[in-house]
């Protein structure tokens, strides 16, 4: 990774230049190739070489964690985001949401420039016009002595921006600023602050001997999920001595599915359980186990066992993170358990906690604003980054209030439910196009720099505010800085030059400008879940879409939910027993009705939900928000009222609901196939006890390996060099392109991969990384699925006109997918286990696909790759038929061809395409290549430096992104690579080894930690 240049941004004049654009013009003469133009730079930028990437360190803004990122920029365009290996939070890993920030940057539905409302429509305007209007209204407000009626709602971000807005508002004599975060778990932050003195202590899962999570979904986006996952995977990586993980909650989230044991409790009863556990470890919980058992529906014996474990296994780690109105009390109790059990400083480290979280407000703060707006006392409202109209319940009447504000100014980059109601849109530059800072850990500054020039005619909100202030006589004296960058550089402790240097690394020393915050005491009275109905409605954020901001990014829409494996949809989770009682099955519509409203969505029958609950995920149901989000699913907030927890966040799990069978249904857009392994031994596991005793492979499989076939562990089995036969040397008796001693050394390599199922959490970051790296098209958009009759009627209606239709037809393109299997629980009991199995091309040494290809489009490279040659492929699909792993994907509609309706990269999404990877056309088979472009890059680099490729020098995109560090890639033929050692692990196995495919992907069995006396 090259060091980012020092003086980076000013000199880049990228938009003028753009390497070689494919401006296909008129065909000349009899040439079949269209004539292209080569457009050189006007003036060559320093520090860049055409065709060679430059890396810029910056900060991810997709959630509050503010991970460090490295943006790979080729010829002026960001093409890939990876974690910053030096960053104290994410250490080089990056989640799916972080990766998908690129699709926010290149979103085809972004505002192209400023907009102003005329004749009740937002129409394009010039910056001058739009800013003049804003300036004029601000002076009018001041002239009318109503400057206090100028208000600001921002999306809270970790950094100086919040305090910068505070200063701006006070400089102008304006009213208050609310830094809203719809997703952040404010209750936990407040409770942590009260108990530990740190809003989000660092959690050391690996130091714990038992982990208990009471609804805290630390792998799903709760707090800082990449940091949590790195640590949790390290804990699981201890294998036999790994901590047991018990999840207590109404729904098994992704985090819950990773638990060794699930105690399914009634929503709202978590407080009783937390207090009972607190009493059990010697704290003042004032609740007995028996009382908690009665309230929660969990057996007394189970709770007693957990209490005993907590007492016996210290240090432990107890997390409370529910979304009921009692959330703050549960979090307080969990923190007190940690204190009583002596975990603080060992598994909970307040001194190393996340910083920069102060000053965030929840929905409750906006309720007060909505009241004022409705009363007509707000003159001008600025909104930046937040989408309250979508995130807040209708009962809060925020949208109605907006209509009563004379001037609403939105800084939104995308048309969303809120910005569409505004009068002026001053589109903000994307975080990858603007400056900023964050304080991930106390004393460490994460520095956010623009990695490229703005794609559209946008300006950074902070720069707009500085410009407005400098043009305002009352404010200009307080704004000596021309830009936000100057502001940040001026306040950098070590000075401007040090700032410039630190920006190159993305990290510096110092603190962000903090907001002045006063923390109110948390209320202590428990608040019960209200309403009538036989079900508790459990609403939770989506791991991929959050509470809605991710919905306009096709990678995230296409990413199957890690739990349900459903994409492009909203679904209602029902327990099998509840579904039977209601007489509904998968795909049937149900209506979930609360006092506040109702939603209708298809049923997904899920074992991991409490029988008295229904669960719905947030994130969908956008009425505006671009082509990929609009009209997909329903917004679960529509069924919620204005009930908040003690810290002011909207209580997502707040009400009881009635569930009735609705009219018709909608096919679930699922990639699940079967949730069961049917004895195939795909995803295998051992218990810690078996591992200790060396009893591997004791699980019963229906299909056992052929006893006559000698299977050698690891990758020592014979490998067919090349299914094509003798192409290179006609005299060679070996089947292979090159002789074993060929100078290239190709024949002595074997690229291979290990995937440690003990570490894998199923988070799916690898899947999105693969989409980003390999130009994989998303295929689920509404307009991509429609085909000819008989699927739809003459007017174009029909199921294949619905989002995800291509996926319903089995035409998804995910080169890498996470298969999710359940073990046990057939009787509906909570005692089931989940196994995640990342499945990608296995690069078989003896590949069934290769021998059936009639045109040699797929063949075995001497270095162990199963290669797909797109330009040879004629699309017979024999290979896909022959593949036992079903990892070959056919390009049905020419998703890479601009002229087609199904085009997956509408301008400017195509700017993200990786120039090192072919964009496949219609009618070819495609699949995982083991990131062959990265292999070639490493070879190029090694050759340029006149050396061999060094062990572990590079890795694939999936392995790079993996926040569990479960994937290891390398040359298994060379002992110096980590992968060569991993394949010799006693847990190593191949999927379908009985087929003699000699795969190059080796899985390491999951390790389970059943409760004493249990089997799973």
């Amino acid at each position: 990774m090259s060091q980012p240049p020092k003086t980076v941004v000013k000199r880049r004049e990228f938009l003028k230049v753009l390497g070689s654009t494919g401006a296909a013009a008129t065909a000349v003469g009899c040439f079949q190739e269209p004539v292209e133009q080569l457009i050189p730079y006007v003036v060559s930028p320093d520090h860049t070489v055409p065709g060679v990437s430059t890396n810029f360190a910056s900060v991810c803004r997709e959630c509050a964690a503010a991970c460090g990122i490295i943006a790979e920029v080729r010829d002026g365009r960001a093409i890939k985001l990876e974690g910053n290996p030096d960053h104290p939070v994410n250490h080089g890993a990056l989640c799916a949401r972080g990766q998908a920030a690129l699709q926010g940057l290149y979103n085809p539905d972004r505002y192209r420039g400023p907009m102003v409302r005329r004749d009740n429509r937002l129409v394009p305007a010039t910056w001058d016009d739009a800013l003049t209007l804003v300036r004029q209204r601000l002076s009018e407000a001041r002239a009318d002595n109503a400057a206090g009626g100028v208000r600001f709602v921002s999306h809270h971000e970790n950094g100086s921006f919040g305090a910068f807005v505070d200063q701006w508002m006070s400089a102008g004599g304006f009213g208050g600023h609310i830094a809203f975060d719809a997703e952040a778990d404010l209750a936990v932050r407040a409770a942590n602050q009260a108990e530990y003195g740190s809003a989000w202590p660092a959690l050391d899962f690996a130091a714990a001997r038992v982990i208990v999570s009471i609804g805290a979904d630390f792998l799903d986006g709760w707090g800082s999920s990449v940091a949590h996952q790195l640590s949790f995977a390290d804990a699981r990586g201890k294998l036999g001595t790994a901590p047991r993980f018990i999840y207590i909650g109404a729904r098994r989230s992704l985090t819950g599915l990773n638990a060794d044991e699930w105690l399914a409790c009634r929503p709202g009863s978590e407080l009783a359980i937390a207090n009972a556990l607190l009493s059990a470890v010697g704290g003042s919980g004032n609740t007995t186990i028996a009382a908690a058992a009665t309230a929660s529906g969990v057996s007394e014996a189970s709770l007693q066992r957990v209490a005993d474990e907590l007492r016996a296994s210290q240090p432990s780690l107890v997390l409370g993170g529910v979304s009921t109105p009692d959330a703050h009390l549960v979090a307080l109790a969990a923190a007190r358990i940690n204190k009583a059990a002596g975990n603080v400083g060992i598994t909970v480290k307040p001194d190393e906690g996340l910083s920069g979280l102060g000053g965030a407000a929840g929905a409750q703060a906006l309720a007060a604003l909505a009241t004022e707006m409705n009363a007509g006392s707000v003159r001008v409202l600025f909104i930046r980054g937040a989408n309250p109209v979508h995130a807040l319940p209708k009962a809060m009447q925020f949208a109605e209030g907006l209509t009563k504000v004379p001037l609403k100014v939105s800084f939104s980059s995308y048309p969303d439910e809120t910005s569409e109601l505004c009068d002026v849109v001053l589109p903000d530059s994307h975080p990858l196009e603007s400056w900023g800072d964050s304080e991930p850990v106390r004393g460490v500054l994460g520095l956010q720099q623009p990695v490229m020039d703005p794609v559209f005619n946008t300006r950074a909100a902070a720069d707009i505010m500085i410009a407005l202030a400098r043009a305002d006589n009352a404010m200009s004296s307080r704004y000596p800085w021309a830009t936000y960058r100057d502001f940040l550089a001026t306040r950098y402790p070590a000075g401007g030059n040090a700032f410039t240097e630190a920006v190159g690394k993305g990290l510096g020393q110092g603190s962000v400008l903090a907001r002045n915050t006063t923390s109110a005491a948390l209320p202590t009275t428990p608040q019960a879940i209200s309403g009538d109905g036989e079900f508790f409605l459990v609403v939770h954020p989506s791991p991929a879409l959050g509470v809605g901001a991710g919905a306009n990014k096709p990678w995230l829409q296409e990413l199957p939910d890690p739990v349900s494996k459903i994409a492009w949809q909203t679904w209602v989770e029902l327990h099998p027993s509840a579904a039977a009682r209601l007489g509904v099955g998968n795909n049937d519509h149900v209506t979930v009705r609360t006092a506040a409203g109702s939603i209708t969505a298809p049923v997904y029958i899920y074992l991991g939900i409490h029988p008295e609950s229904v669960a719905v995920s947030l994130g969908q149901g956008h009425t505006v928000y671009g082509r990929y989000a609009q009209g997909i699913g329903v917004n679960a907030v529509d069924a919620l009222g204005a009930t908040f927890d003690g810290a002011g966040r909207l209580a997502w799990t707040q009400a009881k609901a009635s569930v009735t069978k609705g009219v018709g249904g909608a096919r679930l857009v699922t990639t699940e196939g079967s949730a069961r392994q049917h004895g195939r031994g795909l995803a295998r596991a051992v218990t810690a006890a078996q591992l200790a005793a060396g009893e591997m492979g004791v699980e019963h499989h229906e299909f056992i390996a052929d006893a006559s076939h000698e299977f050698k562990p690891g990758l020592r089995s014979p490998v067919a060099n090349d299914a094509q036969g003798n192409l290179g040397d006609s005299l060679s008796t070996k089947k292979g392109m090159y002789a074993d001693d060929h100078w290239s050394g190709m024949a002595s390599r074997r690229w291979a991969m290990t995937i440690d199922l003990a570490r894998c959490t199923g988070c799916s970051a690898c899947v999105t990384a693969c989409y980003a790296e390999n130009n994989i098209p998303t295929v689920g958009a509404r307009w991509q699925g429609r085909s000819l009759r008989p699927f739809h009627t003459a007017d174009g209606a029909g199921w294949d006109n619905e989002p995800g239709a291509n996926i319903l037809k089995g035409r998804e393109m995910a080169w890498m997918r996470i298969e999710r299997y359940f073990e046990g629980g057939e009787d509906g009991s909570t005692n089931f286990e989940t196994r995640f199995l990342p499945m990608l091309c296995q690069h078989c040494g003896n590949a069934p696909c290769e021998s059936v290809c009639p045109v040699f489009a797929t063949y075995h490279a001497p270095d162990g790759l199963n290669v797909q040659v797109y330009n040879r492929c004629v699309g017979t699909r024999y290979c896909s038929n022959a593949c036992p792993y079903k990892v070959r994907y056919f390009n049905w509609h020419g998703y890479g061809e601009e002229a087609r309706r199904q085009y997956a990269f509408p301008e400017p999404l195509n700017l993200q395409l990786n120039p090192d990877v072919t964009v496949r056309g219609k009618g070819v088979m495609e699949k995982c290549t083991f990131c062959v472009q990265r292999i070639r890059d490493a070879e190029h680099l090694a050759k340029a430096e006149n050396r061999a490729v060094e062990p572990d020098e590079f890795t694939t995109a999936c392995a790079q992104a993996c926040p569990s560090r479960a994937i290891v890639f390398g040359d298994a033929a060379n002992e110096e690579w980590s992968v060569a050692r991993q394949v010799e692990d006693q847990r190593a196995y191949h999927v379908f080894e009985e087929l003699n495919t000699f795969t190059a992907v080796v899985y390491l069995q999951k390790v389970n930690h059943p409760a004493a006396g249990g089997t799973r």
């Binding site: 292209e36 006007v42 065709g51 072919t918 190029h940």
Partner: protein
Amino acid sequence: MSRRRSWALASGFFAIAVAALGLSAYSGASSSQGFAPVQPVNFPHPKHVQQLGMNCLYCHYSANRSPDPGLPAVGTCMGCHTVVQGRRPAIQGVADRDTASINQLLSYAKGTPDQWKPIPWIRIHKLPEYVHFPHMRHVNAGVTCQTCHGPVPEMQRVYQYASLNMGWCVNCHVKGYNLADGLLAAGDTAGARAAGNVEPKKARYDCAVCHY
């Protein structure tokens, strides 16, 4: 009857032969070898390379460190042509400059640098998008530019010298590149003589070396 059948067979064979001929002609025609478009600026390579002795890498500045050879920015041209302007009469034995061509360049470089426009060159050498050709690997292996691009220093108007078909690529990868031949193509006879009879440099030729 048997005679008639043999005649029918003969015409069938003839049809196949014609089809084969047509196909082979077609496949040959699918190369744009010889393509020599009129460029927006009539850049005389002979003047710059042969007369002024400029190195290829001066303008194609990333050919030895990037897959992409690089094109000179207008700024690179203007580094000299700010001074070396057109419209100057031949004086004291110095030949007249190619005023028309220089003026073509200057039409893209009017005013201050921020008003300059890029020159929309017409692309001559183009490999399909499913082929990855890393220039630097070839240049650093000692393959002279002329080996593939032909006698560009002599071309008043650049044309596509080689077919750039896959057979042409693979031929060199399999048989190997002869350094002496390459230097000879570059006009370096002394170098070619000095290089002597070294082992041709071969390269890998399985599909995934270039196709991915």
